[in-house]
Symmetry: C2
Subunit: 402 residues, 2 copies
């Protein structure tokens, strides 16, 4: 025990912390709670209480402390506070991409809500599954570093879920469901069903489906749910969805573009394309245009999301409340962090709505040559040729009027 020697003489001794902060105009060296205590003529404990607005501090003392803190330009070290309390005021946000509209929008909203409540956001980009998955959800990177977790639309594997559970922190998900944790999302199946019903109502019977990849992608649940929705709607309408028209892409514009390219190049192309996301739908739109097809004259296209760029393509889509989901998820997490929440995982599904723009219209021709009414006549080839012809004709200009 050698406490008495020097009050706090040689401070620069230990940590590299005491380097020599270059620009420190007003204050000088970053002052600690001790300096404030000395200046105010009280103990550090009192300073701590006064500064945090706890009671058991006389009005006069508090005033003095505040003045001293102000004068010294004192700011408490969040690190030290964290070490002492175990709380960090930081929320980790787990997501697969940051540069995709949905995610950046949700995070933007989340950040806003959390910031207003004094929390900061730590990005935990786990990337796409198709790539080597960096171990972002590593115990050692998160333990003691965050107070809560927000999982955005990423399906975690057993290992990652384990890490999360082991952390023992409140978790709220957006999109993907995580057993035992709060969740906010939309009914993906219903959303896509709406889109399909729209096409069916317009009279389309030869509909192609560009689903989201559920294999390597992180958004497996979303992909699966949306695919199921399409099948459900088609089945309900008693319209077949032939395997050749039921393809999968990687959720991107390029992916949708390529998928549609293949679809439209068929001898028996669809009259409509239902994409599981607007980005893919926009890709399909581009593919059609590149091939000289007019949308919606030759092809109807519908997507899901109401991406901010959907309107620029006059894309008909099923809108989901993106910002609201982020906001709600953040608020639910805040509730957990503050402790005043019922207990028991809650799930909130926000509703979606069809936004009809100009990318959909009734099918132009009776393009249901051999499907369904397959009563003996095997005219596949002939019809295929016919379609090709018609398209070629229109492609090179002079489309019929009206």
């Amino acid at each position: 025990m050698i406490p008495p020697p020097a009050p706090r003489a040689g401070r620069a001794g230990s940590g590299a912390a005491a380097g020599a902060p270059a620009g420190v105009p007003p204050g000088g060296a970053p002052s600690s709670i001790r300096d404030v205590a000395t200046a105010a003529g009280v103990s550090v404990a009192t300073v701590s209480r006064a500064l945090r607005g706890l009671d058991r501090v006389s009005a006069d003392t508090r005033r003095r402390v505040l003045a001293a803190a102000e004068a010294l330009d004192y700011v408490a070290s969040p690190t030290a506070a964290s070490l002492a309390t175990g709380r960090t005021s930081v929320v980790g946000v787990v997501l697969p991409f940051l540069d995709r509209w949905f995610f950046s929008t949700v995070v933007s909203e989340v950040e806003d809500v959390l910031r207003r409540s004094g929390y900061q956001v730590l990005l935990l980009n786990v990337g796409d599954r198709s790539l080597e998955r960096p171990m972002v959800l590593d115990q050692r990177l998160l333990a003691k570093r965050i107070d809560g977790v927000l999982v955005l639309s990423v399906d975690l594997d057993a290992e990652e879920t384990g890490v999360l559970d082991r952390l023992g922190l409140p978790v709220v998900t957006v999109g993907s469901a995580l057993p035992g944790h709060d969740r906010v999302g939309i009914d993906d199946g219903a959303a896509v069903e709406t889109a399909a019903q729209h096409l069916l109502a317009l009279g389309h019977r030869r509909i192609a489906h560009v689903g989201g990849d559920s294999g390597t992608d992180v958004r497996r649940a979303t992909a699966v749910d949306r695919a199921l929705g399409v099948r459900r709607a088609m089945a309900a309408a008693d319209v077949a969805l032939p395997g050749q028209l039921d393809v999968v892409a990687d959720w991107t514009v390029t992916g949708g573009w390529r998928a549609a390219e293949a679809l439209l190049a068929r001898r028996d192309p669809p009259t409509a394309v239902l994409a599981a996301s607007d980005e893919m739908a926009i890709g399909a739109l581009c593919a059609a245009r590149a091939l000289g097809w007019d949308v919606p004259r030759h092809l109807s296209v519908v997507g899901v999301d109401d991406h901010e760029m959907a309107v620029t393509h006059d894309l008909t889509t099923v809108a989901q409340p993106v910002r609201s989901q982020g906001r709600l998820a953040a608020e639910m997490l805040l509730g957990r962090l503050r402790g005043h929440v019922p207990a028991g995982a809650r799930e909130v599904l926000l509703s979606t709505s069809l936004v009809v723009r100009a990318s959909t219209a009734p099918p132009r021709r009776e393009v249901r040559p051999r499907r369904r009414v397959v009563l003996g006549r095997q005219v596949l080839a002939a019809v295929g040729g016919d379609v090709e012809h018609a398209r070629g004709q229109e492609e090179r200009g002079a489309p019929t009027n009206r």
Copy 2:
């Protein structure tokens, strides 16, 4: 599995930290460096050294320590480490929006680079200046919390700059310049000049300019530089840029849309629109389409950025290397953080390049009725009517072949 009873018996004393981590399947209670030391039969100092790969540790000892740590599922508390070292392994990223393509893309890249080097990203969304600016750059929120700062395209005011300087941390900016700090960006003026020259080379003489708002927006410098670039190019070509054709929008699709709407509604509309960003250019494209104008037949549109959606609109633009800027900025910051950097602020300007797509073409008609060669004939009205007519005609179908 309930490992060894409780090597950490009466520790739960102080902080609220020791709540009672709900789900802790494998490890039990979070073990500390002490447990590892005990288990390995060495001192905590040795454990610290061994675990951090420092030398002065015998191979054998290191092995034992690693084994013990592994067995105990030990993970060092970053908080405690920060308190001791003064470093946090966290970088703050200051930005105005997170839900705009440029920013989310840059952040995505930044996060990737930093994560691979063991740094985490803390979002510091300062929002748009036009709104009440939250004090995100508050001393007390940042002090001791981050090791470095990345400022993305936001012009800070004196107060904010002060906070940053007072922090005494390495700072690197993307876009906006901050005196005394490293910077990576593009030559905004040159980029726009390229776009303008492209239009001029095509023969356009009546060019409208939709600049970015430099008033309330955070990206003032970018707005100003780009506007200057346009003026420079026009002046060099000795082509006038009448005030009525030189407008400003808020960088968004909607903003560009509205601006173009007004421009095209004029009796003497431009033959081309040069927007300071692709988002605004896309908006202009939409405005034209909504009015029944064909691009590039009736109007050429060029933007700047090469937004990911530019290709879906076949937009001619001047591409800037967005990801590279993020990557480079992050790397420069890492260099500073590691200390091995020359000293003295560095500036790196990446080059931009014209990407010609299908939104630009030579002006269709001699649309320079009264501008420049104003030799007596005041045919404004007539020409205006002519244009209206031609447009209306083409609008309703039957475009000429080829």
